[in-house]
């Protein structure tokens, strides 16, 4: 690959006491790919995502985003560095309406955050991109509903809209289909497929059908260790993976 990876982990380590939750993990997210991170429960997927997002500080190793070291960058500055994320449990603003939620994502990286005078709720510079993002995830019709009143699946869609509205090209999606109905996750998968190529996506997902249909490459995490990275076919054929994961999954 001529192009450098969008996101790169080099020898990342993290331990809680004696438990090594991230064990020398190397991972490269290539530009434009969907890279799935899979592993049995307790493999350390969310811990790894939290370190990339900046909520947890690794004990050692490096995290590079577009070639820049962001290992020690505070969480709130990683969005500006080019990283958008969604959470395993929807993190939305329940009292805002749906459009306000997305407008917050639009304004977060825009200048004028300390503007106290101009009304934000009728500001086309926020509202137009917010509506566009809602359109993309299929929530446009619900834009005036209070976000706390959305159905579970809709909240997941809203999370994705907020990540898209941030305007970064690297997405960290932690189980975007968690808890969704079959129909909802089928639609979400189609949505993610539509993002392929334009975004570089690191995707944590449990649903193997989705992973193998969507991902360009897959990394398997077992007990904090990245035991295998490759195309879905390669991973499926890997003996260690079958032993550690697919066998008992």
């Amino acid at each position: 690959m001529a192009e450098p990876p969008r996101l790169e982990l080099r020898g990342l380590r993290k331990a809680f006491g004696a438990v090594r939750v991230t064990h020398d993990v190397d991972l490269a997210l290539r530009a434009g790919e969907v890279h799935a991170l899979i592993g049995p429960n307790g493999a350390g997927k969310t811990t790894l995502i939290s370190q990339i997002g900046g909520e947890l500080m690794p004990d050692g190793g490096r995290i590079l985003l577009d070639g820049h070291d962001i290992t020690r960058l505070p969480a709130h500055r990683r969005a500006a560095a080019g990283l958008a994320r969604s959470f395993q449990i929807s993190q939305i603003y329940p009292e805002f309406d749906v459009e306000d939620n997305v407008a917050m994502a639009v304004q977060a990286l825009a200048p004028g955050g300390l503007n106290m005078w101009r009304g934000a709720r009728h500001d086309a510079r926020l509202r137009t991109p917010a509506r566009a993002a809602l359109e993309r995830v299929g929530l446009a019709a619900r834009r005036q509903v209070r976000a706390g009143e959305l159905a579970h699946g809709e909240k997941r869609q809203l999370e994705l809209a907020m990540a898209l509205a941030l305007g970064t090209s690297t997405l960290l999606l932690d189980e975007p289909m968690a808890g969704m109905s079959i129909e909802e996750s089928r639609r979400m998968a189609a949505l993610l497929a539509g993002l392929k190529g334009r975004y570089s996506i690191l995707l944590v997902e449990h649903d193997m059908d989705v992973v193998f249909a969507l991902a360009d490459r897959v990394t398997v995490l077992v007990y904090g260790e990245a035991i295998c990275t490759g195309t879905p076919e390669e991973v499926r054929a890997d003996a260690r993976v079958r032993a550690a994961y697919l066998g008992d999954g």
Partner: protein, 324 residues
């Protein structure tokens, strides 16, 4: 429909404030002007507190400190100006146009320092640390014997404005009402702005806001400073109204009263705390007429409002959700 109702309610409130001197004159009850001046002054402080309490979920239990500081700047400068001693080489002034912005700036600066230190904590610790700072200010003022210590400091006359006679009760009252209206308007702009949305987002889901790239301290500290400045303005107006300042202005009871006004009127609505200040002081006035144990009756009234309308008195009058 509901927006219309809100508009008319606010207009009616303003009309009541405007008509008070006329009614007081007709009914020959001059104390009404004095009472409504107190309403307006405390409403400014309560609205300021609502900015951090209602929109930032920052439970400041020390806002009386800023109220007192604003008042004491007026009192101390008046003290030195009157006896000709001057203050750090400055002869002092009675000009409101100089003194009041100075007092507000002092409160904003105090808010910056106290807020910066307090915002390292959150939740109960934030409540306790803001309370601790207010207590520090209290004991500082008690210890300043030259300014009366415990007994407080009397002020000879109101500050002056060119062309306006602040010594006249009705004139002074209208000035307070105008400042209240301007402050309410400004605060409504603030909570509806990008800044206000960011502050409210941090209240609802700090984790999400950080992931989106917002630095919490930047927004919460700014709100704290603006709020402190507003409370300081109320202190300035109180010192000029009562012509007296004392450490009582910064007791924890005073901070609690401000909080009670916000909760009684409707937290997170800006308009509500105005109603809350009126209801609280009005009730206090009425009940103290009957018994000195007026808190025995005020307590249950507060409990009832909190139980039956989480959005306070204003929420009972405007049932629709306020989206600001």
């Amino acid at each position: 429909m509901a927006a219309g109702r809100k508009f008319w309610l606010n207009l009616a409130g303003l009309a009541v404030f405007v008509l008070v001197p006329a009614v007081a004159g007709l009914a020959d009850k001059p104390f009404l002007v004095s009472l409504f001046t107190r309403f307006a002054v405390y409403a400014i402080a309560a609205v300021s507190l609502d900015l951090v309490l209602g929109y930032g979920a920052l439970v400041s239990f020390g806002h009386a400190a800023f109220f007192a500081l604003g008042g004491y700047v007026v009192g101390i400068v008046a003290f030195h100006t009157a006896d000709g001693s001057g203050l750090l080489g400055w002869a002092g002034t009675q000009q409101a146009l100089i003194l009041w912005p100075l007092a507000i700036a002092v409160c904003a600066l105090a808010g910056l320092v106290i807020g910066f230190l307090s915002l390292r904590t959150s939740g109960v610790q934030f409540i306790m640390i803001t309370l601790a700072f207010a207590q520090m200010v209290y004991f500082l003022l008690v210890g300043l014997m030259v300014y009366g210590g415990d007994d407080g400091l009397a002020i000879a006359q109101r500050n002056t404005l060119p062309g306006i006679d602040l010594g006249h009760p009705v004139v002074y009252y209208y000035l307070c009402v105008a400042l209240l209206a301007a402050w309410v308007f400004l605060c409504r702009r603030i909570v509806g702005s990008r800044f206000g949305m960011a502050l409210r987002s941090l209240k609802q889901n700090r984790r999400r806001s950080i992931a989106l790239g917002l630095a919490p301290l930047r927004y919460q500290l700014t709100a704290f400073v603006v709020s402190a400045a507003g409370a300081g303005l109320a202190g300035v107006l109180w010192a000029n109204y009562a012509l007296f300042v004392s450490p009582d202005m910064t007791t924890w009871q005073k901070s609690g009263e401000l909080m009670a006004m916000v909760i009684l009127g409707g937290i997170g609505s800006i308009f509500g705390p105005v109603l809350g200040a009126i209801a609280f002081i009005g009730l206090e006035q009425m009940l103290t007429g009957w018994t000195e144990h007026w808190m025995l009756l005020m307590g249950p009234a507060l409990v009832l409002v909190v139980l039956f309308g989480r959005r306070g008195l204003y929420g009972l009058l405007v049932p629709e959700r306020d989206h600001g």
